[in-house]
C-alpha cells in the first residue's frame, strides 16, 4: 500500500548520535534516532524501566542510555541490555533518499495504551 508510510522529516533534521520525538494523535511520542552511520531507528519514547523519555538520552553505537536511570536500550530491538530486563515497543522506520518515514498504521495504533509516569502535586504519595 503506497500511503502506509508517513513522511516524518529529512534525516539531516535529526542530530547525529541524537534523536527527535514525533508526536501523534494518540499515545506517547515516537522517538526517532540517528547514529553516526546515518542509520535511523524508531522506538516508543518510553523506557521499559520507569517510563523515561528515551529521545532525551545519549545515543552510542546502536543503543540509547535512558536519561532517568541510565538503562541501556538497544535501538534495533527496543530490548534492555542485560542484566536489566524489559522491552520498549519498536516502530518500523524507512529511509529513502534522505527522507525518514514511519508506518502510518503504527503511528495511529501501535502501543497507544502506554503512558508516562505522573509527577507533581496531583500525585503526592507521602500524605500524612
Amino acid at each position: 500500500m503506497m500511503n502506509d508510510w508517513t513522511p516524518i522529516c529529512r534525516v539531516d533534521e535529526i542530530p547525529v548520535l541524537g534523536s527527535r520525538r514525533v508526536s501523534r494523535p494518540q499515545g506517547l511520542d515516537v522517538a526517532v534516532f540517528r547514529n553516526d552511520k546515518d542509520e535511523v531507528f524508531a522506538l516508543l519514547d518510553r523506557c521499559p524501566h520507569k517510563g523515561g523519555p528515551l529521545s532525551q538520552g545519549i545515543v552510542f553505537g546502536t543503543s540509547v542510555a535512558c536519561p532517568l536511570h541510565n538503562w541501556t536500550i538497544g535501538l534495533c530491538t527496543g530490548q534492555a541490555a542485560a542484566p536489566d530486563e524489559g522491552c520498549t515497543p519498536r516502530f518500523e522506520v524507512k529511509l529513502t533518499g534522505g527522507q525518514v518515514f514511519l508506518k502510518t498504521s503504527e503511528l495511529t495504533s501501535h502501543a497507544t495504551e502506554l503512558t508516562r509516569p505522573l509527577a507533581g502535586p496531583t500525585h503526592r504519595t507521602a500524605c500524612a
Partner: protein
C-alpha cells in the same frame, strides 16, 4: 602459502586445567573475540568450573556443591567449547603443537593447538612423614577432598588438622561444625603468621578456642600412626606425645603445579615463568595464568590477582595486545563465619615504619596500621574489618596520608553515610535490612545474587542488583558483603580502574593523553587511545567532552550530543519527562521585578510547583520541554546552571549590611564570587557559601568552597559536602581582602577543573590528591596560584549564557519542538 585460506580457519586454543583463573580467561576472551578460536578444555576433575574458594562454606554446611558451580555444563556447550572433564594431560609436543591426554579408564586422545593456555593451578604440599599414605590422611584442595571430609565427619570422631594457616583453620572450623572434635597442629607459635601479627594471631586463637577448637602450637609432627585396618589412628609428635586422630587433614601449603610445564621444558622457578602478557618466557605460543604461573618472581594464590591476569591474557589472545599485567598487591580474609579478620601489605612493620595501633582485647577488636614515609604500607584488622577495603585502596594507591593521619584509625565510615540506617557492619545486618537506600536492595537480595550468579566484583553486583549503583554511599557495605559472601578479596579492583568498558585506560591516562598530545576532538581521543567502541558510551563520552573543554578552553568544541540531557537542554529532567527551571539569583538576593516576572511565568505556562531551594533560589517544576525557551525569555534572568556539572549556587547570609553580628559584607562577597565564576563547568557540581561571621548562617562548612568572614579578614574552607556523606570542609587559608578571596577561590576551582576526574566532587578530588598538595599549589605557590586564577578567567571570558545565546552555547533548538504528523 595462501594466507587467505589460513585466515578463514579458526585458530585452536587449548586450555589445560579447568579452574577459576583459566575459565575466567576464556570468559574475558569470549567477551571481546567470540569468533577467534576453537576452544578445547582439559580438566582433571570430573566437574565443571567451580568456585574453589567456597569449598570452606560447603565443608561447614553453609552452602552446597551445586551452589558453588560457576560455569555449568551448558555454559561450555553454549559457547561451543569442547570440554574433556576427567581427562589428565599427559604430555605436550611443542614441536608438533600436540596435546596428549588420558582418562581414568586408560583411554587416550590428542589434539592440536595454535595457542596453549596452562592453568594447572597448584598441588597441596604433603609432609614427607611416615604414615602420610595411610587411609584417612588427606589434603584440602578440591571437591573430592571436601567430600572425603564430609563423609569422615559422619563416621569418625577425632580430626587433626596440620597447619594453622588460612586453609587449615577453615578446614578445622568446617569439621567442627560437622560435629568432630578437632585439634589444629601448628609448627609456629601463632596462627596465620603470614597474614596476622602476633597480637591478632592470639586473638584469633582465643576466639576459635571459645568455639571449641583446640590448638597444639609449636608442635612438630613426627609420624602418623596407623591401625590394623590401614587407617590412621593417631598423630605422634617429636616430644613423644600423641593425639588420637581418625582423620588427618594436611594444610601446610600449596606448590604451583609445574610438572607438565617442566616436562615440556618450559622455564619454571616459583612457577611457570611468564612475562607481562602472561606468555611463557620459553614459548610465546604458550600462556599461563593462575596459581601455577610465576610473574616477576611471584605465584599468586588469591583470586583478585588471578582475575587481573585472566583479563590481560584474554586481551593478548584476542590480538589486542594493549593490556599489561604488572603484579598485584593482595589482601586476606578468613572465611569463618563470625570472625572478622583482614590483612594486607606489610603489616609486620620493620625499619623505617611507624605503627598506629588500637587494641581492645576484651571487646575482641584489634587494629594495626603500618605507615612508611607518610604512606600506608600495611594493615592488620581483627574484629572490626569494616574499613579493610578502604585501607586496601589507600595502600594500593600509595596516597600520602599525612593530612588524614589523625583520623585514619577511625576509618572511612565514622562520618555518617546516609540511606542505610547508619549500618556500617554488613555482617551484623539482617537479611531483610536495606543496604542500598536508593534502589531498595536488601542484604539478603545481594547475597543471594552473589551466590547464584557467581559474582566477583563490585561492578557486577551493581549491574545485577543496582545496589551501590546510584549514589554510592553503600559501596563499603556492598564490598563487605562481597568479601563475606564470595569469600576472597574479590572487591579488590585493579589499581588503575578503566574509565568504562570501552577502554582499558583510566581517567588520569585519558586526561594526560589529551593534554600531552593536544587532542581537541572526541574522535581524536578515540583514535589516539584505540577505543574499543566506535563512539563510546553514555559514561565515557560526557567525561571526554569535559576533559577536552576544560583542558583546551576556546580551542576544543563542546559536543552537546555527548552531554547528559540536562546539560543539552539546560534544564533538569524530572521523572515524568518534564523539566525544572532555576534562574540565577546572585548571592540569593532577588527583587520585586524578578519575583513578578517569575509569578507571571508560573501563571502563563501553568507551572504546577514553585519551590524555594536549599541554595536560596526558586525552582519552577513541571515545565514542558516545548515551553523552556519562552520561560527563560519571559523570566529574563540568567541561567542558574542548576542542571549542570558547573558552579551552582552561592549561598550567603545577610552579613554586615544588616546583621547586628556581621563582621563582613558576605552578600556582596557572594555576589562577586558568583559573577566571577558563573558558567564555570567542572568535573561535578560546585557550590559556594559565604558567611559574614563565625556563626556561619550560610553553612559554609559543607560547601565545595566555604568562606567565613571574621573581623580581620576571610577564612577559606574547601572540599566540604552536604550530600550523601556529610563532609566538613577543610580549612585552607585565611586572607585579608575580597580580591584575595576571589583569587584563591578561583585558583582552587581551576586546579579542580583541570585535575579532577569527571564526576569526582571536590571532596573526592582532595581526598585523592591530599590536602597538603592543594595547600602547596594554592597557598604556598604564589605564581602558580595567580596563573591558575588567570587561566580560569581566560576560560570563562565571553562564555555564553545558554538560556539566551543559543548559537554560541551550541544549543540545538530543534530539540524543543516535537515533529508532528
Amino acid at each position: 602459502m595462501d594466507m587467505r585460506v589460513e585466515a578463514k580457519a579458526k585458530m585452536k586454543l587449548v586450555m589445560v586445567g579447568n579452574g577459576m583463573a583459566g575459565v575466567r580467561t576464556l570468559e574475558e576472551l569470549l567477551k571481546i573475540a567470540p569468533e577467534l578460536y576453537d576452544i578445547t578444555v582439559f580438566g582433571a576433575e570430573p566437574h565443571p568450573n567451580y568456585n574453589r574458594i567456597l569449598l570452606s562454606p560447603v565443608l561447614a554446611g553453609e552452602q552446597t556443591l551445586d551452589e558453588i558451580v560457576l560455569n555449568d555444563w551448558s555454559w561450555y556447550t553454549d559457547n561451543h567449547i569442547t570440554l574433556h572433564a576427567g581427562w589428565r594431560v599427559t604430555s605436550v609436543d611443542r614441536v608438533k603443537r600436540l596435546v596428549h591426554a588420558a582418562n581414568a579408564a586408560g583411554e587416550t586422545l590428542s589434539t592440536n593447538y595454535d595457542r596453549l593456555l596452562l592453568c594447572t593451578g597448584s598441588n597441596p604440599f604433603m609432609l614427607p612423614i611416615p604414615g602420610k599414605d595411610l587411609q584417612g590422611v588427606i589434603a584440602y584442595r578440591d571437591i573430592a577432598d571436601t567430600n572425603a571430609m564430609i563423609q569422615a565427619a559422619t563416621r569418625y570422631k577425632h580430626a587433626v588438622v596440620i597447619g594453622g594457616g588460612l586453609l587449615g583453620l577453615e578446614a578445622a572450623n568446617g569439621l567442627m561444625r560437622r560435629g568432630m572434635t578437632v585439634s589444629v597442629v601448628h609448627v609456629m607459635p601463632t596462627l596465620m603468621e603470614r597474614q596476622l601479627d602476633v597480637v591478632a594471631g592470639k586473638l584469633l586463637q582465643k576466639s576459635l578456642e571459645e568455639r571449641g577448637l583446640s590448638f597444639l602450637m609449636g608442635a612438630q609432627t613426627q609420624e602418623l600412626v596407623g591401625g590394623p585396618d590401614g587407617r590412621v589412628t593417631a598423630i605422634k609428635f617429636k616430644d613423644g606425645t600423641q593425639v588420637p586422630a581418625d582423620l588427618v587433614v594436611m594444610a601446610v601449603g600449596i606448590r604451583p603445579n609445574v610438572e607438565l610445564a617442566q616436562n615440556m621444558r618450559l622455564h619454571c622457578d616459583k612457577g611457570i615463568v611468564v612475562n607481562d602478557t602472561l606468555q611463557t618466557t620459553t614459548d610465546a605460543r604458550i600462556y599461563s595464568v593462575g596459581e601455577c604461573a610465576a610473574h616477576r618472581g611471584t605465584a599468586y594464590g588469591l583470586v583478585a590477582p588471578l582475575f587481573e591476569q585472566a583479563k590481560v591474557a584474554a586481551n593478548h589472545l584476542a590480538l589486542f595486545g594493549i593490556g599489561r599485567y604488572v603484579g598485584s598487591l593482595t589482601s586476606t580474609k578468613l572465611k569463618v563465619t563470625g570472625i572478622d579478620l583482614f590483612s594486607a601489605g606489610n603489616f609486620g612493620g620493620g625499619e623505617g615504619t611507624e605503627e598506629i595501633i588500637m587494641s581492645d582485647p576484651k571487646g575482641g577488636v584489634y587494629k594495626k596500621l603500618v605507615l612508611k614515609d607518610d604512606k600506608l604500607v600495611g594493615a592488620c584488622l581483627y574484629g572490626d574489618t569494616v574499613d579493610g577495603s578502604w585501607y586496601f585502596k589507600l595502600l594500593r594507591d600509595g596516597r600520602n596520608v599525612h593530612d588524614i593521619r589523625d583520623k585514619l584509625m577511625f576509618g572511612e565510615s565514622n562520618i555518617g553515610d546516609a540511606g542505610h540506617e547508619g549500618h556500617n557492619k554488613a555482617a551484623a545486618m539482617k537479611d531483610s535490612d536495606e543496604v542500598c537506600g536508593c534502589n531498595g536492595v536488601t542484604k539478603g537480595t545481594i547475597c543471594k545474587v552473589i551466590k547464584e550468579k557467581g559474582l566477583f566484583t563490585l561492578d557486577e553486583v551493581r549491574k545485577h542488583t543496582k545496589a551501590s549503583a546510584s549514589c554510592g554511599s553503600c559501596t563499603g557495605l556492598v564490598e563487605q558483603l562481597l568479601m563475606f559472601t564470595a569469600g576472597g578479596d574479590y572487591s579488590a579492583t585493579p589499581k588503575t580502574k578503566a574509565m568504562c568498558a570501552c577502554t582499558e585506560h583510566g581517567h588520569q591516562a585519558v586526561r594526560d593523553a589529551i593534554k600531552t598530545n593536544q587532542l581537541l576532538k572526541i574522535s581524536d581521543v578515540f583514535a589516539f587511545l584505540e577505543w574499543k567502541t566506535p563512539n563510546g558510551c553514555a559514561s565515557c563520552r560526557p567525561a571526554i567532552n569535559y576533559y577536552l573543554i576544560s583542558t583546551w578552553p576556546k580551542l576544543a568544541m563542546d559536543d552537546p550530543q555527548s552531554r547528559f540531557i540536562n546539560e543539552r537542554s539546560h534544564a533538569n529532567i524530572q521523572k515524568d519527562g518534564s523539566y525544572s527551571v532555576i534562574p540565577r539569583m546572585w548571592g540569593g538576593e532577588t527583587t520585586a521585578s524578578e519575583l513578578r516576572r517569575i509569578a507571571d511565568v508560573v501563571d502563563k505556562y501553568k507551572i504546577p510547583t514553585v519551590k524555594v531551594t536549599g541554595g536560596q533560589r526558586i525552582d519552577l517544576l513541571g515545565v514542558k520541554k516545548e515551553d523552556l525557551q519562552a520561560v527563560w525569555k519571559d523570566i529574563g534572568m540568567p541561567s542558574g546552571h542548576a542542571y549542570a556539572k558547573a558552579l551552582r549556587t552561592v549561598k550567603t547570609c545577610v552579613g554586615s549590611e544588616w546583621c547586628r553580628m556581621g563582621t563582613q559584607d558576605s552578600t556582596q562577597m557572594g555576589k562577586d564570587l558568583e559573577r566571577a565564576m558563573w558558567r564555570m563547568y567542572a568535573p561535578h557540581k560546585v557550590k559556594f557559601a559565604v558567611s559574614g561571621c563565625p556563626r556561619n548562617c550560610a553553612e559554609a562548612g559543607i560547601k565545595d568552597v566555604g568562606i567565613i568572614g571574621v573581623d580581620s579578614g576571610w577564612e577559606m574552607y574547601v572540599a566540604g559536602n552536604g550530600g550523601i556523606k556529610t563532609e566538613v570542609a577543610h580549612f585552607l587559608v585565611k586572607v585579608k581582602t575580597a580580591a584575595e578571596v576571589l583569587e584563591y577561590t578561583g585558583a582552587f576551582c581551576e586546579l579542580y577543573r583541570t585535575e579532577g576526574w569527571y564526576l569526582e566532587r571536590t571532596v573526592h578530588y582532595v581526598n585523592r590528591v591530599g590536602l597538603d598538595y592543594v595547600k602547596k599549589r594554592i597557598v604556598e605557590d604564589h605564581t602558580g596560584r595567580k596563573a591558575l586564577w588567570e587561566n580560569l578567567q581566560f576560560a570563562l571570558d565571553g562564555e555564553p549564557d545558554p538560556w539566551f545565546e543559543f548559537d554560541k552555547a551550541a544549543v540545538d533548538t530543534r530539540q524543543f519542538e516535537a515533529l508532528s504528523v
